[in-house]
Symmetry: C2
Subunit: 205 residues, 2 copies
DNA sequence: GGGCTTTCTATACTTTAGGATAGGTTCCCT
DNA sequence: AGGGAACCTATCCTAAAGTATAGAAAGCCC
């Protein structure tokens, strides 16, 4: 079977291709970015599967996936990533990808997954999709903040003035001032700007 | 020769190991994080080279490199990364790493580099270190900002007041106000907080 | 030199932010 | 019923931020 492998890390690409060709009886064509992948799809042989790295030049989030799928006439395209969370995998599938391969997956499973997807099946590792999202853990900062405070913090992170936040939340400006003061105390910030940066740093907003 | 390969992406690790063992006559021991690497260094065989992924659980920037080097009694440790910039490579070498391998490097060069480093030589791809930093490209936002404005923006992103920034830069407060106003105009922000968030969003600071 | 940009400073003013203190409501828990 | 928590409002005050306008020094290009 024929596979088109697109990844900007040549080291990963080379060794992955070597492994697939040896262990899986797969013919691999390598490219380093999405543009090259697209032109290869259009001018190259009919690939049984196209495997795209999620963080690669030209991908622009999942827009690159759309571009590739559009050029494949319904034939399978899959995404591979080392960092993307579950939500991205779901979104990729919604857009028409036939699979999502986290790079934490073993190489042998990879061979099977590739063959599986080339046959038209959809593949996502079960443990990846069922894994608990570290929701609260991602925001240790959010703990100790009340709902209101979170709303006000959201305003801060948009650079809103107290007056604007008050209008949006239908409160008085003084009230916002109070919340901002409390926020600064809880976040150990000395002013609104620092509070906003801390929230941003922590991955909120 | 014996190599200890530490990378949390099993897919990358498996294929890399397979490639090295086949093409390079290298015996590879695999681990998935720094803790495992450290205990393997202490209890396992004497590895000719230890190769650590830069973004792997336990690494904590380059602190993990220090830990590993401390356990190697002067024997070679190298860093591998897909994303780290030139500055990190330099820092790693300063800390005592014998090499830095970007994942954009080809697999064949990798085999040579690994053997090279195992012999005690230092290896960094020439094109990687001599490559121009995409300074302006990384920060499309930084274009149009003068040096002073960048300095002031740095202050904003730390939540400093105009007075503090003025003190740090040895300028008058009014001057900072002017720069802040200019910054807000150029960044299309309506106040300092928004300017700071925009800078943060763009990856600056 | 003349024009240009970048930078710094100054004065004067309005608006916003931040702090302190006090009093109020609701709702939940014991 | 009382205590506490989260929330809202008020008044008063100071400090900081932001706006406007104007002048000046330093460097660069032509």
């Amino acid at each position: 079977m024929k596979l088109l492998l697109a990844d900007d890390h040549e080291m990963v690409r080379d060794t992955l291709a070597a492994f697939l060709e040896r262990e899986g009886n797969v013919t691999v064509t390598q490219v380093a970015d999405l543009d090259a992948a697209c032109s290869e799809i259009e001018t190259g042989p009919l690939f049984d599967l196209v495997l795209l790295d999620y963080s690669m030049p030209g991908m622009d989030g999942l827009n690159g996936l759309k571009r590739a799928i559009a050029r494949r006439d319904g034939r399978p395209v899959a995404i591979m990533s080392g960092i993307a969370p579950k939500a991205i995998a779901q979104e990729a599938l919604d857009l028409g990808a036939v699979g999502f391969l986290p790079k934490t997956m073993g190489a042998k499973s990879l061979v099977n997954a590739v063959k599986f997807m080339a046959m038209g099946e959809t593949f996502v590792p079960v443990d990846f999709m069922t894994a608990e999202e570290p929701a609260e853990e991602l925001n240790p900062l959010a703990k100790g903040l009340s709902q209101r405070e979170m709303q006000v913090l959201a305003g801060l992170c948009q650079g809103q003035s107290n007056k604007e936040i008050a209008r949006d939340l239908d409160l008085q400006e003084v009230t916002i001032k109070l919340h901002v003061k409390t926020l600064c105390r809880k976040l150990d910030a000395k002013n609104r700007t620092q509070a906003a940066m801390i929230a941003k740093e922590a991955g909120l907003y």
